[in-house]
Each structure stands twice: as structure tokens, then as C-alpha cells.
Amino acid sequence: MAEIIDRLEMNHITKRFPGVLALDDVTIHLRKGEILALLGENGAGKTTLMNVLYGLYHQDEGSVLINGQEVQIYEPLDALKRGIGMVHQHFMLVPNLTVLENIALGMYQHSEFKLDLERVRGRVKEVAERYNLSVKPDAYIWQLSVGEQQRVELVKVLTLGANVLILDEPTAALTPQQTDALIDLLRQTVLQDTSIIFISHKLNEVKAISDRVAVLRNGKLVFDGNTADHSAADLAEKMAGREIKYPKIQKKDEYGVPILQVQNVWADGDQEGTDSLQGLSVEVRAGEIVGVAGVSGNGQRELADAINGIRKIKEGRIVLDGEDISNHSPQQIIDRGMGYIPEDRLHEGTIPRFSVRENLIMKDYRRAPLSKALFLRKGEIDSRSESLVKAFNVKTPDIQTSCASLSGGNIQKVILAREITRKPKALLAAYPIRGLDIGASEYVHNQLIQAREEGMAVLLISEELDELLDLCDRIAVMYEGKILDVLPREECTKQELGLLMAGVAHGKE
């Protein structure tokens, strides 16, 4: 077991990558029992700094001190031996193994040939009791919810003897409820001899959880101070290096005709015999943003797929600008003027291996002027792509770069550029800012508002209440495949939406 880390210092850390100064003289300190939030936009160097601490990289300059002693950390094993553990953004668990087996994977066994699961069980029990972290030791990972898997990751790291935990965007995959539970849990954990470094770009979480916050921007430490002394807006400004305005819609008195009408739609679920959509109705008028609020997994994905012709509906009707598009092919629906920003931007929204240029033409490659007869017209495609990249401010070395190498925010810009410039009548956006930093979110929101101003009917699926309240003219709350209620924005409160999202119908408790 590693000694307790009373004080961890990273002094004057500098790390260079070819052509990039990833970390520039960064100094952070951490005391026992403290939760330090490491805040910064994507690319600010948060993960790089933590990878240095965890031994995935080695700093070019600077030193790491534990309890005043300089230490050299060349690989994760060195870090673990000294009591530093990291939980990565994407869980590193084997779905087909049990919780115990997964935890045993990282532990040293006494014997090369015998797996002493009972010893592991003992350790897990010890840790679980000490930190009040309950896990089911014999459950398979695939049986567990995302929140439970996260707990397993925490137990795994704690079992290995870590007393400094690095959590890399631990809430990225969690629902708001799971996030709250995690925050409570982390608060309890630090009551023991443990400290936590929490990487995030979500301000409300940082505010809720951390004692101290260090803000990185472009590889430099720009701020280090007590969380309580600074407002969220203040921190946002430090993080972005400029004032952040959360875009909000202006109230309108008049809307256009109904463009997208979903009428009493039923559709199968992925499991046999279940209905993912159960008589769902919702309507979006021209120039309006309608939000669909709900805890994910209540049929949002199926609704989006049904509207776009990817999932068949059993009953009901979907109408786009007066035309029945129920169970039409995706191509026909696109041709009739539907735009779609899918939930999984890397695999549904773009082809990661294809270049930015090839991704930008995915919906229009068959039309003039991009092609003539059967042939793609390179000149037209190049100039359209160049101008879209410029107009939407996509940060990419050039249009030949593959989408996979872009950041989430820039991938989303590619998708926005493609969808919005087609001038669809209706635009469906599913969780458009999930995982994006503040700057990119602001951009996406401005684009959606712009689409509304241009008269598109926008359906916005989200579970972030702030986003919905800022952008939507009306908010429909979805629960178990149905819309429970549709509320005009002025009449919504977060509490009310939260209750509805939990399935408590309007007006009764």
C-alpha cells in the first residue's frame, strides 16, 4: 500500500509536442482531502497534464513532488505504486467479466498461476465499506448501468491503493441524476485520506464539487483559487479567455404554419415485445424551437430515428410540411427537406475516416453543382468545402484532413455546416452540445437560433434543462415513449420539468 499523499506538487511542468507547446510552465498543488477541479476547454492541456502525472507522458521540464520528495513517474505502474490512480473518460472494463474479475485484472497476484479471487473479494469489501461504495462483486459488467460501472472503476482504483484519484470528465456519460449521485459519492470519498483531481469543462459540476479550481487555457495556468470565491460566469470567462454569453432566443409573437407534425406514433423498441414510442404526438411550427426534455432512454433516439425514416413506425403519421413522410426512406425524407444532427456525431453524423471535404458533401453529392451525370466535380466540391469550413469556422488543417482527427466541437461544426446550408424545412438536433466545451456549445446554440430566425422548424432533443430553457419556445417532456406535457417556455420551471422528466404528471404529485 502506498503511503498517504499529504501534499502533491507539480512544479513548472512544460511539455512539448511537435509544433505544439501543450503545457507551458504549469504549477498545481493538491493537499490531502481536497478536491481540485481542473477546468479548461478542449485542447487546453488538462488531460495532458494529468497524463504526465499518471506516467503516460513524461514532462520535458519541471518536477513532480510527493510529500516534498521529487519523484520520477515514467509509466502508470510508477504512479499506482505511489498511490496515484486515474479513471479515464471511457471506462476500461471488460464487459464479459464480473466486477471482481475486472478488479483482479489490475492487481498483483501472489501466484502466477492461481487467481485468488477470494483475496480480491476481501479487498473490495474493505474498500467498499471504508468509502461507502457499494458494488455487486459477482455481477457481470454488461449487466450494470453506466453509473454502476463508474463506481466499479472507482473501487478498482481505490483497491489498488490509490489515494489521489484523477477523474477525467467522469460525468460525460452520465445522466443528471447519475451525476448528482456521483458528486455525493465523491464528497464522501474525500472524507477519508483521499484527494481528487477532477477534470471537467462543466461549470455547474465544478461549482458543486470542488474546493479549489485551476483553470488552464492554451497550455497555461491562468487561474488557481478557491471555488467558493468565484461565480460560474467568472470561471467561464477565465476558461474561454473572453466573456461568454449564453445565447437565448428572443420572444416571438407569431409563428409560421406547422412544419413537422408527429401524430400518435407507435414504434417497436429494440427489445422484442416492447414499444419505444407509445402514441407520441408533437408539433413544430416554422420559426420555432421545440425542446424534447427527458432522461435519455425514454424513446428519444427512437423518435429521432422514426422521424428520419431509419426506424419503422407501426401506427400514426409523421407529416413534413403537409406531406406524409411516415415510413418513407431516409433519402426521400432528406429530399423533402429534413435536416438531422444525430446523437452520435462521430459515427452517425460523419464518416470518421473520410475527409472533411467528403463529409461535407454526404447529403448533396448527387445534386448539381457538386456532381454532373455520374461524376463528382472536384472543383465545385473543393470550393464549397473551403467556403463552408471558413463560414462555420471549422478548425482543421485543411479540407483533406479526416474527420476522426478533429475535436468534437469541430466535427459538430462540419455537421451543422452540412445540414444548415441545405436549408431544410425542419431540423432535428439530438443532444447537439453533449461533450462540447463552452465555446463550441455557444457556437452550436447560435446556429440553432439562427436556423429559427430563418424560419426552420427545429426540434431539439436534450436532457440539459439550461439548454432547453435558453433555446426553446416550447418544451415537450418525454417519458416512456410518450409526451407527458408541452409547456411554453415562460411557464416552465426547472423543478416542474424535473418532476415531469421523472414521470410525475402535471398537476398531481
Binding site: 444525430p342 464518416i351 470518421p352 482527427s405 475535436s407
Partner: protein, 375 residues
């Protein structure tokens, strides 16, 4: 712009290194096989790689083998690029031979260019049909295409042998009672031009090269090719963009099979001038190696098929010189596949790549900022 084209060249360099590296590994492992078979590996390789290049016969034969390999390889590349594996080249070649020969024999008096085009077309239809069955089963019944194409190979062999022994047999074979399972000879109009007196080198090679250019243009310059590559690269995103994944799978297999069928036609019209047993000489499988070795790119497949043509001809010559069965070349082909696939995995690991690069004096790429350019 500069940066990305540098990246492009680096990618190209990496894949070339992978390919040459795996060829080397395969040859080294093959040396053990020669040693086991009791031959001096150096001498065997010497004969195999040098002798075909040292005479007219070897050179022309190498190109004769390269032509069908190239066509099969092109078909395989189309399928791979569209996200479906075609292991059924053998069967598709046979169906191509059957359809092509049938048309060639039925219309012996058509003018030469027309007849040759008709035979190619028929062979394309035959092979495409056979490939299309596997594509259709994959798209609509979710039958794994590796299983179905391999099984269709067996069916094709049986059908082929039945036809050669029954309905399509040369009437002379029946009349004289010799009963060799082969069709009658094609008319002069259905034979590809031979360039050099006394050698088998025929115009099929030029046709194959022209088709390689066509495939390149098709995949990268047309809307259909773009769509097929999109479906192959990420079927989900393709669906969301309105592309019909199922249609494209079937189309990919039809085209892939069609190219294998045309390889059969080239053998019939260029080499044998009739359909006969074992006409394919394993081109359906070797074509897979050719395609992989050529980086699944039409313009890589042209030289790659030459290399394998050389190996096949060289193996024959080596058999006579050092008394080791020429079929050892099949083992070496297998080793090349294993080496390409494993060195691909090996070099996909960025750290490994870096080591290779620093050996080659290139700049590092592994230790890139994980968030590099992600702002």
C-alpha cells in the same frame, strides 16, 4: 495544405513499408519451408525471383498471369472498400468462364471487337450473378458473406464440372470417345490478340490495366463510387445520410464478382481458347493477396499483380530447378497474408510506428498531443 499532403505521403510511406516488410517476413519464413523440403533456400529464391526476369518466356508468362490476378484483385478491392469481403473469386471466375464461353461459342461469327466485348459482358454477368447472390444474402438475410462465398465456390465447382462433362462438352470429344471435359475451341474472332510469335502474351493485360484506371475513376470520381466507399467506411453514417446500405452491398458484390468473371473470360479468350477443368489456377484466392498487397487501391494492384505473376511463374521454374513442388508458392502466399495482416496491426500501434519511423529517420507521430488541434 502542405501539412496534410505531407501526412498523405507519410501514410503512403507507411503502407509501402508495411507491404515490403511483410513480403520480407514471408520470404524469410518461406526459407524454412524450403529448408524442410530439402532445398537450398537461397538457390530456390534465386531461381524463383530472377529466372523469370531473365528471359522472354518468363517475362511474358509473368504478364499472362498478372492479367487475371489484376482483375480479381480489382474486384476484391471494390468489395473490401464497400465493407464486404469476397472470398468467392474462384466460383465467380468459373461462372464467368461458363457464361463467356457459352456466348463465344454461340456467336462465333460476330466481328472480333464485338464478340470480345460480348464475351466480357457475359462473363461479367455470370460472375456478377454469383457474387450478387452472396451480396443479396448478406444484405437481406444477414448471412455472413465469408461463409456464403466459400460455399458458393463449392457449388460453382460442381456446376462447372457437370457442364464440362455434359451439356457444354466439345462434340468432338464425344465423337472420338476421348471424353476430355472441355468445350470446343472458340472461333478466331473470340481470341485476344497475341503480340509476340511463340509466346502467350495477349492483349488481356492492357485491358486489365485499362480497367484498373476505370475502377480508380469509379471509386474516387463518381457519385456511386463515393457512396460505396461511404457505406463501406461507416454504414451507420451512410444510412443517416440517406444512402441505402443494402443496395450498395449487393452492388459491391455484383461488381466484385463481375470482375472475377472477366478474369475468367481473359483466361478463356487469351490463353486456353476454350473452357476446361482447373482453368483458374487459384486466381480467385491469389487475387485476395494481390488486392491486400496492392493496398486495396487499383493503382497499387497493377504492380502487385505483376509481383504475384512473377512469383507464380518463378515457382514453376524453381520446381524444375531445385525439385521442390511449385505449390510451395501457396504457402508463401499464405505467409504474406499473415504477415501483411499482422504487420498492419503491429504498425497501427503508434508507438511501433514511431520506432519504425525513427529507424527510417522520419519524424515522430506517436507522441502527438492527444488534444492536438482540438480547440
Amino acid at each position: 495544405m502542405e501539412k496534410s499532403s505531407a501526412d498523405k505521403y507519410r501514410e503512403l510511406a507507411v503502407s509501402t513499408v508495411i507491404v515490403l516488410f511483410s513480403l520480407m517476413i514471408a520470404l524469410i519464413l518461406g526459407a524454412f519451408l524450403f529448408a524442410v523440403a530439402g532445398a537450398n533456400p537461397l538457390r530456390a529464391y534465386g531461381v524463383m525471383l530472377a529466372q523469370p526476369l531473365s528471359g522472354m518466356f518468363g517475362l511474358t508468362e509473368m504478364m499472362v498471369r498478372a492479367a487475371p490476378l489484376m482483375l480479381v484483385g480489382l474486384g476484391i478491392a471494390i468489395a473490401f472498400r464497400s465493407g464486404i469481403l469476397n472470398i468467392g473469386g474462384e466460383g465467380q471466375i468459373m461462372l464467368g468462364v461458363v457464361f463467356g464461353t457459352a456466348v463465344g461459342l454461340a456467336l462465333p461469327n460476330l466481328p472480333k471487337p464485338l464478340l470480345i466485348a460480348a464475351v466480357f459482358l457475359a462473363a461479367f454477368v455470370g460472375g456478377g450473378l454469383w457474387g450478387g447472390i452472396a451480396g443479396w444474402m448478406r444484405a437481406y438475410l444477414n448471412v455472413n458473406e465469408i461463409l456464403s462465398t466459400v460455399m458458393l465456390n463449392y457449388i460453382a465447382v460442381q456446376v462447372y464440372q457437370y457442364l464440362l462433362r455434359g451439356p457444354m462438352i466439345d462434340p468432338n470429344e464425344v465423337a472420338y470417345g476421348t471424353g476430355v471435359p472441355q468445350t470446343a475451341l472458340l472461333s478466331e474472332n473470340a481470341r485476344l490478340i497475341r503480340y509476340i510469335q511463340g509466346f502467350r502474351l495477349h492483349s488481356g493485360l492492357l485491358i486489365a490495366i485499362a480497367l484498373a484506371v476505370v475502377v480508380f475513376l469509379f471509386l474516387w470520381k463518381t457519385t456511386v463510387g463515393y457512396r460505396m466507399r461511404a457505406v463501406g467506411a461507416e454504414p451507420k453514417a451512410a444510412t443517416y445520410a440517406g444512402m441505402n446500405v443494402k443496395h450498395n452491398l449487393v452492388l459491391a458484390m455484383v461488381l466484385s464478382g463481375g470482375f472475377a468473371g472477366m478474369a475468367g473470360a481473359i483466361e478463356v479468350m487469351g490463353v486456353h481458347h476454350r473452357a476446361m477443368e482447373s482453368i483458374s489456377a487459384g486466381y480467385g484466392f491469389s487475387g485476395i493477396v494481390v488486392a491486400l498487397f496492392g493496398g486495396l487501391h487499383p493503382l497499387g494492384i497493377v504492380p502487385s499483380s505483376m509481383v504475384f505473376g512473377l512469383l507464380i511463374v518463378g515457382a514453376d521454374m524453381m520446381q524444375r530447378a531445385v525439385d521442390v513442388p511449385a505449390s510451395i508458392i501457396l504457402a508463401i502466399q499464405g505467409l504474406i497474408i499473415v504477415a501483411i495482416v499482422s504487420s498492419n496491426l503491429f504498425l497501427k500501434n503508434p508507438k511501433m510506428r514511431d520506432k519504425v519511423f525513427s529507424l527510417l529517420g522520419g519524424r515522430k507521430i506517436a507522441e502527438r498531443d492527444p488534444e492536438g488541434g482540438r480547440t
